[in-house]
């Protein structure tokens, strides 16, 4: 049997590559160590999982892909036998994972394919969802859509998409929304996971795009993880870190997290600030760097703007003051500052602990500032990864299927809108650009108010993942809201829809996606979708065809018919922009295993995309989200320099009280992804974490006379859940709930509130009370 890997890398022999078929990756999440020293390549270790009883010789063919169960985007090959997916194997030559796969990839990526799938469209008749055919379902969708466009115009339409589709699907949807219908109301659940990554990159550097790369883990002397439990959320990336920690000349690790996670346990310094106080902590770190002179004045003066303002803004944040706000030790804060200030190469990663919390964008920008102050960006082993949560989140941002315009174009720059209008051959006025595209939380508010009457949800499960679920369910049930839900499985959301469209999964369709370090992978179709399920791309193309969207010459607006055609159209759209895909083709993607756009690292020359006619955004006031006007932006003459932005810390509006004395925070378990649609159908993962729980400190448990396993009711002002207690890991006064579960869902508790700049909801701060049931 020949494999794709064999074909392109004839020197690769599986027996040399440390196969580990029999390792229990539930118990040993990160797999065996392959330690190495700084500046040496991360060794290959190939992980493979096949269906019970099957050996490699049973596999008919291996099909090139990459894993879609977290944002790491590990290159993998899909095993196919008799037209079915029977397993996965990491690609040894992939620059992201060097053969490894995590537990979610090994068990969760393929086992759900033949279980409980939606195989026929459903339509609501007399209050019940009943099976129907594609033509009937699509005719109903198109009828409602056309009727509302005629009666109420484009603002009646909203689209809520995902971090799970492929680039080609997002771009097609983006063109449908912006040039076909002409609605600004399109966003993804990426608003819940990566909006702050994009926002902080835009505010500091002028455009989205991760400056650093995975290889920087192999090269760094210090690694800072800000609100990032990497050991649980990106297990293969964490294995790469563990291999450095286990090797000689290990990097120093600093972790900011209110919980004592396995990530925090590996740290040299663990800072556990109270939820909601990240910005105070960051202001303190920046102040310490400036005060101790751990800054590169030459770099600052040549490549940044706003140093004096930053210095003034952080001046009040002395270690003692920060310690009193965050309830951490001032010594630890200074120790962390010293590691940042004196290590030769520093890599930082940031994720939900910052993004889903109070003053998210301001706190994340301070991470960028730390790097700019030392000039540690765009250099080997140094840089920032403002992480993504979902596998294809980067592509919603690039293609404009979220609150952005395609190609990192600036909605407030008329020339950028002109470029899109020329490309699509439509009137520029068709493309809404009177304000930024509507963010998800506002889309749901308009639906609640009844001004959005048509809501198309694709590949996501908002009835579990959004905050304040009782409200979301009410909105989805509204009589005057027509809901289309497109998914591979029946979910809490599809059950409330008016039309349900059965979609193909990864492995059943072709497309590309881009991971957290800008690495693009091609995922080939391995098998046919079950029943009548169709690829999301085909569904969008069918809608566009039936709606008859046209360009200015009366020709069809959308000219492509398949994934590669969509990708080629996107290459044109991205040409000349920071995320330029024009030299990336399917052919090149097939010939290797992962190609980053923009090169290995961005900003190697210290020149940032802030020039007024090139930047993606003119920026915001970080305290309020007030937009910077084009005139004010141009007056600053950024001309390639990065912005050192800052804001003062303000206490979060949700604070513990006598009635709700604990701070509740939500997060992830290593065994599940998002709302578990795939991972609960993988027996190993489901068995490892079958039900939700609440974690609390031993002292808090003792005060409430609770033992491990006792069932408690956790309540906020908005709702409650009943779950068993796990003791440990949290700091006193803080409790943690995993958000994945659709029953006893953590988001019953969370508030409807968001960051003023990124508009990302505040999942990490709910005042709650706890009592034994």
């Amino acid at each position: 049997m020949r494999t794709e890997t064999d074909k392109f890398h004839p020197e690769f022999h599986s027996e040399d590559a440390g196969y580990c078929h029999l390792v229990d990756r539930i118990a040993d999440v990160w797999g065996p160590r392959t330690p190495h020293e700084r500046e040496t390549n991360w060794p290959v270790r190939v992980d493979q999982q096949l269906a019970d009883g099957l050996g490699e010789s049973d596999v008919d063919r291996w099909v090139q892909s990459a894993c879609v169960l977290c944002s790491n985007g590990c290159g993998c090959d899909i095993a196919v036998k008799d037209g079915r997916i029977v397993g996965v194997r990491g690609r040894a030559d992939d620059l992201v994972n060097r053969g490894r796969l995590g537990p979610k990839g090994l068990y969760g990526s393929w086992q759900a394919h033949r279980k409980d799938r939606l195989i026929r469209p459903l339509i609501r008749r007399s209050g019940e969802l009943v099976e129907t055919d594609w033509d009937t379902a699509m005719r109903e969708v198109v009828h409602r859509s056309q009727q509302l466009l005629a009666e109420a115009g484009p603002l009646s339409h909203g689209f809520y998409t995902s971090g799970q589709l492929f680039l080609e699907e997002y771009y097609t949807l983006g063109v449908i929304g912006k040039a076909g219908i002409g609605t600004p109301h399109m966003d993804g659940n990426t608003r819940l996971c990566t909006a702050t990554a994009a926002a902080s990159l835009k505010e500091t550097f002028g455009a989205d795009g991760q400056p650093a790369c995975h290889a920087d883990i192999d090269l760094c002397d210090a690694l800072f993880l800000f609100g990032h439990n990497m050991a649980a959320t990106q297990t293969v990336m964490w294995a790469r870190v563990l291999d450095r920690i286990a090797g000689p000349d290990r990097p120093q690790v600093v972790v900011v997290d209110p919980r004592s996670t396995p990530t925090a346990e590996a740290a040299d310094v663990h800072l556990a600030p109270l939820p909601g106080t990240n910005l105070a902590l960051m202001n303190g770190l920046v102040r310490a760097l400036i005060e101790r002179g751990w800054i590169d004045e030459e770099y600052i003066s040549a490549h940044t703007l706003g140093f004096e303002k930053l210095k003034t803004a952080v001046e009040p944040y002395t270690p003692e003051h920060v310690a009193s706000i965050c309830r951490i030790s001032p010594t630890d804060l200074l120790r962390a500052a010293e590691i940042f200030g004196t290590s030769q190469r520093v890599l930082s990663t940031v994720l939900q602990g910052f993004y889903q919390s109070h003053q998210a964008t301001a706190a994340s920008c301070q991470v960028n500032n730390l790097h700019l102050l030392r000039g540690l960006i765009g250099k080997p082993g140094s840089g920032v990864l403002q992480m993504n949560g979902q596998p294809t989140a980067q592509n919603t941002r690039e293609t404009g299927a979220d609150g952005d315009l395609p190609g990192f174009r600036n909605w407030d720059n008329p020339e950028h809108v002109e470029q899109l209008a020329r490309l699509w051959n439509v009137d520029p006025l068709t493309i809404p650009h009177w304000a930024p595209p509507t963010h998800a939380m506002q889309i749901w508010r308009y639906a609640e108010q009844g001004t959005i009457k048509f809501l198309w949800i694709s590949a996501t499960n908002p009835a579990v993942s959004l905050p304040e679920l009782s409200r979301i369910r009410e909105i989805l049930r509204k009589e005057d809201l027509f809901v289309v839900a497109q998914d591979a499985f029946s979910t809490e959301t599809t059950e409330l829809a008016d039309v349900v469209l059965p979609a193909a999964l990864w492995g059943e369709k072709q497309g590309t996606f881009t991971n957290l370090s800008r690495v693009v992978h091609l995922s080939e179709q391995a098998v046919e979708p079950p029943g009548e399920a169709r690829s999301d791309l085909d569904i969008f193309l069918d809608y566009a065809y039936r709606m008859g969207f046209q360009n200015r010459d009366g020709d069809p607006l959308i000219t492509w018919k398949d994934a590669e055609g969509a990708f080629d159209a996107w290459r044109e759209c991205s040409r000349g922009r920071p995320c330029d895909y024009s030299d990336i083709t399917y052919e090149r993607l097939r010939a290797g295993s992962g190609i980053p756009w923009g090169g290995e690292r961005l900003y190697v020359d210290g020149v940032f995309p802030t020039t007024a006619d090139y930047c993606e955004d003119y920026g915001h006031d970080l305290l309020t989200g007030a937009q910077t006007t084009p005139t004010d932006y141009k007056a600053e003459r950024p001309d390639g320099r990065a912005f050192l932005k800052a804001a003062e810390y303000t206490p979060a509006s949700e604070q513990p009280s006598d009635e709700y004395p604990f701070l509740g925070t939500t997060g992830r378990t290593v065994y599940h992804f998002h709302t578990r649609t795939k991972t609960k159908r993988a027996p190993e993962l489901q068995k490892a974490a079958p039900e939700p729980w609440v974690e609390m400190s031993a002292a808090d448990a003792a005060r409430l006379a609770l033992a491990d396993g006792d069932v408690v009711r956790v309540e906020s002002e908005r709702g409650g859940v009943e779950v068993p207690v796990r003791i440990g890991r949290c700091r006193d006064g803080v409790v943690f709930l995993p958000f994945h579960y659709g029953f006893q869902a953590a988001n019953e508790l969370t508030p409807t509130e968001w960051d003023p700049v990124s508009k990302q909801p505040l999942f990490k701060i709910s005042a709650v009370r706890i009592r034994k049931v």
Partner: protein
């Protein structure tokens, strides 16, 4: 010297403005971003009032009866719905513009008096007022099309 009259006017208008931001916050709890930002801005206007205190001590203040156009009565009852939100934000914009130009007038006097301390206070408060206006404009621009076009009835 009529500066005292203007300091009185500024003092009154700042208090009125802070109060108005708080009323809008209270009345629009269903728009969490409006509620939150109005609260943050109100707290900062309180800060402006504090900064004004030593200036008032130096020059005195003469408070005239509250000018007609600054009545907060209209904020006792915030409006509802998309257009209601728009109108309330627009009223805040008008009030905020009033304090903005009042700071400008006081700033001119500060320059004539060569009062460095007052000049610094004016400069920082003007920036703060510019931030209020910028946020209000941002939020109004975002809301206007949906409120005016898509809402029915």
């Amino acid at each position: 010297m009529h500066l005292a009259t203007y300091l009185g006017l500024l003092h009154t208008s700042l208090r009125t403005l802070a109060e108005a931001f708080r009323e809008v916050a209270k009345g629009h709890g269903e728009e969490p971003d409006v509620q939150r930002t109005c609260e943050v801005l109100a707290a900062r206007i309180d800060g402006q009032v504090s900064k004004l205190a030593p200036i008032v001590e130096r020059y005195g203040e003469h408070r005239e009866p509250e000018p007609e156009r600054l009545h907060t009565a209209e904020f006792d009852q915030t409006r509802s719905g998309g257009v209601g939100l728009l109108r309330d934000l627009q009223d805040l914009y008008a009030l905020s513009s009033f304090t903005d130009i009042t700071w400008t007038v006081v700033g001119q006097a500060a320059q004539g008096l060569r009062d460095k301390e007052l000049m610094d206070v004016v400069s920082s408060c003007e920036q703060d007022t510019a931030r209020q206006l910028a946020w209000l404009k941002t939020r109004i621009k975002q809301s206007a099309p949906q409120a005016l076009i898509a809402a029915r009835g």
